[in-house]
């Protein structure tokens, strides 16, 4: 270690939200020219610590030094003056403004209080160009709301880059990005590191951590429990530091499920979907693979009646009308949606209510609820899924990401569904909770349910699926079964189809018949 002081030093950071102690004396030290991983299970305080540094959370106590000098960071603007830029876990884009306007938001060039469009264009040009390979065909004057989630995430990153930060916080900024997009971001981060910046990197994807980070700080329950260099440390060791001993979920394909056909889909079209045909059996876990944005989420939403689509869907041999989620739920279909915050939970309502809402009809007579029944049902799910919570009456927004996700699972388990649709169910979930969620998925299948799962992580598909359908441009173009499912094969399948896109897609027939 040299004598020079580190670029960032946070010590004794404390923050309480009501009764929740988000941080209790956490610390972090990062040098310039370093990518510093910030690891820890869900709810360990990573985001809160990052927000304290970025000025958007007021800590109850904290000592912050930048370049060895103690500072107070009273607001995001104060942080910006210190050269700190942040990409938060939650996007902070204004949907109505254009990509260009969002990029320069809060730092619009201009004179005497007036904006200069030309100067703004000059500033955003290089950033868009830099992100171009990942961003694809996005123009500066396009409203941000027209962009896909991954593209929006990249704009958010661009916004931070535009500030030419000395200290950059990336809080799960890669969670909604696909492999090739991540590669572009990593390249940029490495350049920043080379230029002497310090990058704080939060991710639940261990391979990203080992790939990119130089050192890492590990948080548990709001406290810093370790600081370690990354090179030479086994991933298992990192996991143990984070969550203690996790019983890794092993891939277990066993025999092919041979239950009867439970879900039958023919010519499903609408939105991005262009004629999906598939079948799934009781007890089977079917994955949806392919490049991101090929219609996987749309397929799940359409099967759940949440978006308009045409085609035939049968459950247990009887046709299903894709009228509404309500109708789908009545037929024993459940969907754990991709965006937990806006689609999965009722943030201000209690955990109990969130667990109960989908199965409410089962516990009521003539519209009157049985309160005791509801509590018991919620309790049973908390126990079955090992949800960590203070009180069933606490708002669901007080839970960490992984536990909130389990609540969404629990809500649907209470309906005893026959077909379970999962859209990226472990996005932003820590390794420990992830393993539990995999076990839940397995158990569901073992109990006879059909599970269809979309994931942004290939490893997830490898771990849990009996069969993977690879999607391309709204249709199913390849199928991997049993031991064929490897990360390598998944990537190949996705790319091979992608490369072959010059051919009329109609030439390829669906190879999905079981």
């Amino acid at each position: 270690m040299t004598e020079t002081s580190p670029l960032v030093r946070l010590t004794g950071v404390r923050k309480r939200y009501g009764g929740v102690r988000a941080l209790q004396g956490a610390s972090l030290t990062a040098a310039g020219g370093e990518v510093h991983g910030l690891l820890g299970p869900n709810g360990s305080g990573k985001s809160t610590l990052g927000k304290v540094l970025a000025g958007s959370v007021r800590p109850d106590a904290a000592e912050i030094e930048i370049d060895g000098a103690p500072v107070r960071i009273g607001s995001p603007r104060a942080a910006a003056r210190l050269g700190i830029a942040a990409v938060y876990q939650q996007l902070s884009l204004i949907p109505e403004l254009t990509v260009g306007e969002n990029l320069v938001l809060g730092q619009e060039p201009g004179r005497a209080g007036f904006l200069s469009d030309r100067a703004a264009r000059r500033r955003v040009g290089p950033v868009l160009e830099r992100l171009g390979p990942a961003l694809g065909d996005v123009r500066a004057d396009q409203p941000v709301r027209e962009l896909a989630p991954g593209q929006q995430q990249l704009v958010e990153i661009g916004k931070a880059l535009l500030r030419e930060p000395r200290i950059l916080l990336l809080d799960e900024a890669t969670a909604s990005l696909h492999r090739d997009q991540v590669a572009v971001v990593f390249e940029i981060v490495r350049e920043l590191r080379h230029a002497g910046a310090s990058i704080l990197f939060v991710s639940h994807r261990l391979d990203e951590i080992t790939d990119l980070c130089d050192r890492a700080t590990i948080l548990r329950s709001g406290e810093t429990v370790a600081e370690t260099p990354i090179a030479g440390v086994q991933p298992d060791a990192l996991v143990r530091l984070m969550v203690g001993d996790v019983q890794a979920v092993e891939r277990d394909h066993g025999e092919r499920p041979s239950g009867r056909v439970r879900l039958e889909v023919r010519d499903l079209a609408g939105g991005r979907l262009r004629g999906v045909r598939m079948q799934a059996r009781a007890g089977e876990i079917v994955g949806l693979g392919g490049l991101q944005g090929q219609g996987q989420s749309e397929l799940l939403l359409a099967l759940f009646g949440a978006t308009a689509a045409t085609g035939e869907v049968e459950v247990d041999g009887a046709p299903v009308r894709l009228a509404s989620p309500r109708a789908a739920a009545a037929r024993g279909i459940a969907l754990v949606p991709g965006d937990r915050g806006t689609q999965g939970t009722l943030p201000p309502r209690s955990i109990q209510e969130n667990l109960a809402i989908a199965s409410i009809g089962r516990r009521s007579r003539a519209g009157v609820l049985r309160a005791a029944g509801e509590r018991a049902a919620a309790r049973s799910m908390v126990d079955a899924l090992a949800i960590k919570l203070g009180d069933l009456g606490d708002p669901v927004s007080s839970l960490s990401g992984g536990n909130a996700q389990k609540v969404v699972f629990g809500k649907w388990l209470l309906t005893e569904p026959g077909v379970v649709l999962l859209d990226d169910p472990t996005k932003g979930v820590d390794v420990g909770a992830k393993a539990e969620i995999y076990r839940i998925i397995r158990r569901l299948a073992d109990e006879g349910a059909t599970v269809v799962i979309n994931s942004s992580e290939d490893r997830e598909l490898v771990t849990v699926c009996d069969r993977v359908l690879v999607m391309f441009e709204g249709a199913i173009h390849a199928e991997l079964v049993g031991d064929e499912i490897t990360e390598q094969r998944l990537v190949e399948a996705a790319l091979r189809i992608g490369a072959g896109s010059q051919h009329a897609p109609g030439e390829r027939t669906a190879e999905d018949a079981a």
């Binding site: 902070s92 204004i94 904006l115 171009g132």
Partner: protein, 328 residues
């Protein structure tokens, strides 16, 4: 990979493409405006005479101004139910200051704008610093402002300098001043929209939390939006005085709700972040013409209010339907 062409950031978007992206709301707003103008002219030929044009625009000007003021607040994600009370207070202050003297007209103008600005700043501070819900906060301040108006001018009266009322009724080379003023308001907006603070106001309306995280001075933007609204209401107060020729503490009771209706007809979403005061001007004119049209078709009086309610709800529905929806 790097073969992907860089986005065409340095070029201006082709005009055709821009037109293609004009929002439906603009078409709904424009369609309503055109329909209203045509109907009004056909049914009430009197309004095409020089006096008709001058008096029509003179009548519209206060609502046009308040609608523009309201639009700024609404775009910023707020709402100002006190706009009418601000107009009343500013107008009575101006009347008291001017005392009917031509020489004091400019001072009166400054007093009206100053009063409006002060009211706007009070609203802005309450909403941005006390963080009260705008609807109810401005309902409360409306009560305060109208009480103060009653204090400043306990009973209607006082005269407005002749230079004001006179100018308001004049024409410059056959174009009525009132029409010129409406055009000036629109042109004024074209300048104001270039202000950085307007971008911040729009961003705040589009998503306060996101804007705050993006280093937008959210509280400042909210404060500014209410302050601008108040200041413009002060100008509207002078237009009201130009019309009225005298002060009245109860003037402008309908302005707040009418301005909100005008804003919606103008394609501005009440949830903020979307739209332009130009739409609000169109909305204000449409709304004002609607009452002229209903008057001209000669419905029995007891049906007039119902018809007017139906017309307004229809116009609101059309505009709201046409307005872009924020996707969640």
């Amino acid at each position: 990979m790097t073969a992907t062409a860089p986005p065409p950031v340095d070029e201006r978007t082709p005009i055709g493409e821009r037109l293609g992206r004009v929002r439906v709301a603009s078409w709904a707003t424009a369609g309503l405006l055109v329909a209203a103008v045509v109907l009004a002219v056909v049914l009430q030929p009197g309004i095409t005479t020089p006096y008709g044009i001058a008096s029509t625009f003179a009548t519209f000007l206060p609502l046009v101004l308040v609608a523009v003021a309201q639009a700024v607040v609404v775009i910023g994600g707020g709402l100002d139910l006190s706009a009418g009370a601000i107009v009343a207070l500013s107008s009575v202050v101006a009347v008291q200051v001017m005392q009917g003297s031509d020489g004091l007209a400019l001072v009166g103008f400054a007093a009206a704008i100053g009063t409006g600005l002060a009211c706007g700043i009070v609203n802005g501070l309450i909403v941005s610093r006390l963080r009260l819900q705008p609807l109810i906060a401005t309902f409360a301040t409306a009560s305060v402002f109208s009480g103060l108006a009653l204090l400043v001018l306990p009973t209607p009266g006082g005269t407005v300098p002749a230079v004001l009322t006179g100018t308001f009724r004049q024409a410059v080379a056959t174009v009525p001043v009132s029409l010129l003023l409406v055009v000036a308001v629109a042109l004024g907006w074209l300048v104001v929209r270039r202000l950085r603070i307007m971008r911040h106001i729009r961003a705040t309306g589009g998503g306060p939390a996101a804007a705050f995280a993006s280093l937008v001075p959210v509280a400042g933007a909210q404060l500014a939006s209410y302050a601008i609204c108040g200041g413009v209401c002060g100008i509207a107060a002078m237009a009201v005085l130009g019309n009225a020729g005298s002060g009245d503490p109860f003037i402008g009771g309908d302005l707040a709700l009418n301005s909100i209706a005008a804003v919606v007809i103008g394609g501005i979403a009440l949830r903020g972040g979307i739209g332009s005061p130009i739409g609000a001007i169109a909305g204000a004119i449409t709304l004002s013409l609607a009452s002229t049209i209903l008057f001209s078709i000669g419905l029995p009086t007891s049906w007039r209010a119902l018809a007017s309610g139906l017309v307004v709800i229809l116009a609101l529905a059309l505009s709201a339907l046409g307005a872009p929806r924020r996707q969640r």
